[in-house]
């Protein structure tokens, strides 16, 4: 057993877990954050993607104790109160989900992708970057549309803020 201390969605949390406990199970079972899903459990499908120290990683392929000391954002931490994060809003607007199981991972991957491409995204890049996220409903078309739309909204938002600051 080890002590695991994390900052999850802005809150400091700690608990005791077996060293073999995966981060995804710690989030779901110890912290009750069940938005992060276990899909394939073999690091292929990406339903378990969360941000660890600002990077989108697969929480089914990381031990909770490995993450101890890190800052984590899960799907529950994206919205600002009742206001959806722009990526969440775009998935809603563009119907970027069918059964919804892969959606938390898709959205966490998409926010990371958009942050890494401040120059903007094109369809080919989005599709290539979604390599590690599988939608079993095969609804990629609207997922890609949603990510492209969110990328534009967020770029405009960033420009707006820059103007305000100036």
């Amino acid at each position: 057993m080890s002590d695991v201390s994390l900052t999850v969605n802005g809150k400091r949390v700690s608990g005791s877990a077996e060293d073999r406990t995966l981060l995804v199970h710690f989030l779901r079972e110890h912290l009750g954050l069940t938005g992060t899903h276990v899909g394939c459990d073999t690091s292929q499908c990406g339903a378990c993607v969360v941000h660890v120290d600002g990077r989108a990683v697969k929480s089914c392929t990381m031990l909770a104790v490995q993450a101890s000391g890190s800052t984590i954002v899960t799907i529950e931490g994206l919205a600002d109160g009742a206001e959806l994060h722009p990526v969440q809003a775009a998935f809603k607007e563009h119907h970027g989900l069918q059964c919804g199981f892969c959606t938390p991972g898709m959205i966490m991957t998409a926010t990371d992708m958009i942050a890494r491409h401040p120059e903007g995204l094109d369809e080919a890049t989005v599709r290539a970057e979604l390599e590690g996220n599988i939608c079993r409903c095969t609804g990629y078309h609207n997922i890609v549309k949603a990510i492209l739309a969110a990328s534009e909204t967020m770029a405009k938002g960033a420009k707006g803020k820059a103007k305000q600051a100036a």
Partner: protein, 265 residues
Amino acid sequence: MYSVNYHRASSVADAAKLLKNGDAKLLSGGMTLIPAMKTRLAAPSDLVDVSRLKDLQGVKVSGKTVTIGAATTHYDVSADANLKKACPALAQMASLIGDPAVRYKGTIGGSIANNDPAADYPAALLALGATIITNKREIAADKFFKGLFETALKEGEIVTAVSFTAPAKAAYQKFRNPASRYAIVGVFVTKGKDGVRAAVTGAGEDGVFRSKEVEAALAKSFDASALDGLKVPAKGLMSDLHASADYRANLIAVMAKRAVTAANA
């Protein structure tokens, strides 16, 4: 996963000490080791995490000399601005490993110490004539990769960095399995001051190897046309449900051609 004891090393020396615990294994990005533990293919008693050691992280470029810390992630290699200038082929290769989430965690040291026969880095380091630096010694890539999942590393030895001289020209091309995305054949070619080197991953029964045929043809002329009609022997190549040895032999010539074209572009 079987029960395991996790340790976070405070230094390379500390990691070496912790490795003496039972059947301990080093943990870096964990992109291979943790899945292997989940399926119980690996069952170390202890894990020694070296991924947070600052000494093992980062890409340094000094003139033509490139040194990459063992715990540098694939993402950090792929995004390094200095490396992109000195040896863009390696940065490009790193951007083709796994998927973005895997690239954020997986490391160069972990990849080469594991020496998966379909991993990308072994081909790159062999073609670059790199030196693998451990906590005990320096090992030439030609002597480091020994066979399937086998390296020259001794018990308790820790890879700390890899180093190489950036070649004048280099490129990597791989033909991926459409499902696993691992290389069925990957070819890394370089043209440096010591001549042409071409290393092949994904195909050899004994893991990564240098293709004599490709190197001999390219030594005459470092041009895709030099590989026209090249026959690579199928002997010693893997045959499995993904591809036969003959198919892989043909792919080596095709990927080598594409790599040379890319290196000359």
